[in-house]
């Protein structure tokens, strides 16, 4: 650690960080898991989901964009924040159409896994049942907007990792949706199934065709261990 390392605390645990890190990056490196959905370590943060909201010196801030600072007091694993985050997950379930039993992303879906981790037994907020358009025009990739949580990962990945601009947003508020860079459908964009954007979706909204249900139940990433265990394992090992 360089001499200008920053020291602060997360839930009372002292964490050392580089001065240009965000709270999320510092926490990950220290083996402390802050729940998140739209964040991806290979992408610039988007600040969409707000699941990573922590309290910094008492004020709410999202860990994925907030820079570390010497002496800040960060609260993460508290009952209050858990309940607030659970509300966000619940909102995502009722604003989209998430049919987990038949979804090929079940077991590896980060939305579902976050619900498990935050102990949400079932959403009870009023369902929206929106009509959402499916795009199956691409030979190798599906876009099933029913399952979209507007995390924007595909939008960012296409630009930042693939050097393209296949995805964008459209409309605002509850009508906001993922759009593709063509007048017709995803099939007329330059998306390739090999693009990072095609496989970076946290849910089953963007999926590679002919790859569904390959992993048996019981062997999928979140069947046995909660999401975030990999990061927490680092702490146990360290």
């Amino acid at each position: 650690m360089s001499k200008d390392a920053v020291t602060f605390t997360i839930d009372g645990v002292e964490v050392k960080a580089k001065p240009d890190q965000t709270i999320m990056e510092a926490a990950d490196a220290a083996g402390i898991y802050i729940p998140r959905l739209c964040y991806h370590k290979d992408l610039l943060p988007g600040g969409h989901c707000r699941v990573c909201t922590v309290r910094v010196n008492g004020r709410p801030a999202n860990a994925c964009t907030f820079p570390v600072n010497s002496g800040i007091v960060v609260e993460n694993d508290t009952e209050e924040l858990k309940a607030l985050r659970r509300d966000i997950i619940e909102m995502l379930f009722v604003e989209g159409n998430h049919y987990c039993p038949s979804c090929e992303a079940s077991g590896k879906c980060e939305l579902q896994a976050m619900a498990y981790r935050l102990e949400l037994l079932t959403p009870q907020m009023p369902y929206a049942w929106p009509k959402r358009e499916l795009d199956a025009t691409h030979p190798d990739v599906y876009l099933d907007r029913d399952r979209c949580i507007l995390c924007g990962r595909c939008v960012r990945a296409s630009v930042q990792l693939d050097g393209k601009r296949v995805f964008g947003f459209e409309n605002r508020g509850a009508q906001k949706r993922i759009a593709v860079d063509s007048a017709t459908g995803m099939g007329d964009t330059d998306l390739s199934a090999k693009d990072r954007a095609a496989s970076i979706c946290p849910t089953g909204c963007l999926t590679i065709k002919r790859q569904g249900y390959l992993t048996p139940v019981g062997k999928r990433p979140y069947d046995k261990v909660p999401i975030g265990s990999d990061i927490e394992k680092k702490q146990a090992a360290g």
Binding site: P101, Y127, K131
Partner: protein, 179 residues
């Protein structure tokens, strides 16, 4: 001491949750020691004879009959437990919820490519369809939820035993699943 009474019921779904209940294998003998079954498809008792302690229901609410039966369950059961995706969220039957009911019926009974002289079923014996499939908690108060499609035999057994003993319902991570 009389044994606690349990009733089970099913609405719109596949009956898989009841199958899963039978999946507790030989533990069903333990369960029979602990409780007495009232109205349930398992023993084919069709009506409530008295108030029961625990009601266990599967399936979403898609028609008038579902609503009436669910309300009856709420009336007779001290504790009402909804089990499985359909009861909790509407489940797979709720896939029709994004299409207006009229369009669904027209496509199924009038305009579909294989239909000749179609008619939307209207026999008074048939329940009337609701505008959409509702999760149980949107129709009556539900006391406990057990997710899964179906919830595993272990989930159901552990939960029922905990309820009977009055223990807190703490299910291990791998037993709480939405699929």
């Amino acid at each position: 001491m009389t044994k606690p009474l349990v009733a089970t019921g099913h609405f719109t779904g596949c009956f898989g949750c009841h199958m899963s209940l039978l999946d507790i294998d030989e533990r069903i003998l333990d369960l029979v020691q602990l409780v007495e079954f009232d109205k349930s498809p398992i023993n084919d008792i069709k009506t409530f004879n008295r108030p029961v302690d625990i009601g266990i229901i599967e399936g979403g609410v898609s028609n008038s009959e579902n609503v009436e039966f669910l309300r009856e369950f709420r009336k007779y059961c001290k504790i009402l437990v909804a089990i499985g995706s359909c009861a909790l969220t509407g489940g797979v039957p709720a896939m029709r919820n994004t299409v207006p009911l009229k369009e669904c019926l027209q496509e199924a009974y009038l305009d579909g490519p294989t239909i000749v002289n179609g008619v939307i079923p209207n026999d008074p014996e048939l329940p009337i369809l609701l505008d959409r499939v509702y999760p149980c908690h949107e129709v009556v108060k539900i006391d406990y939820f057990l997710p899964g499609c179906p919830p595993s035999g272990d989930t159901l057994f552990n939960a029922i035993v905990a309820l009977l003993k009055g223990d807190a319902l703490a299910l291990p991570y791998e037993l709480v699943k939405y699929d």
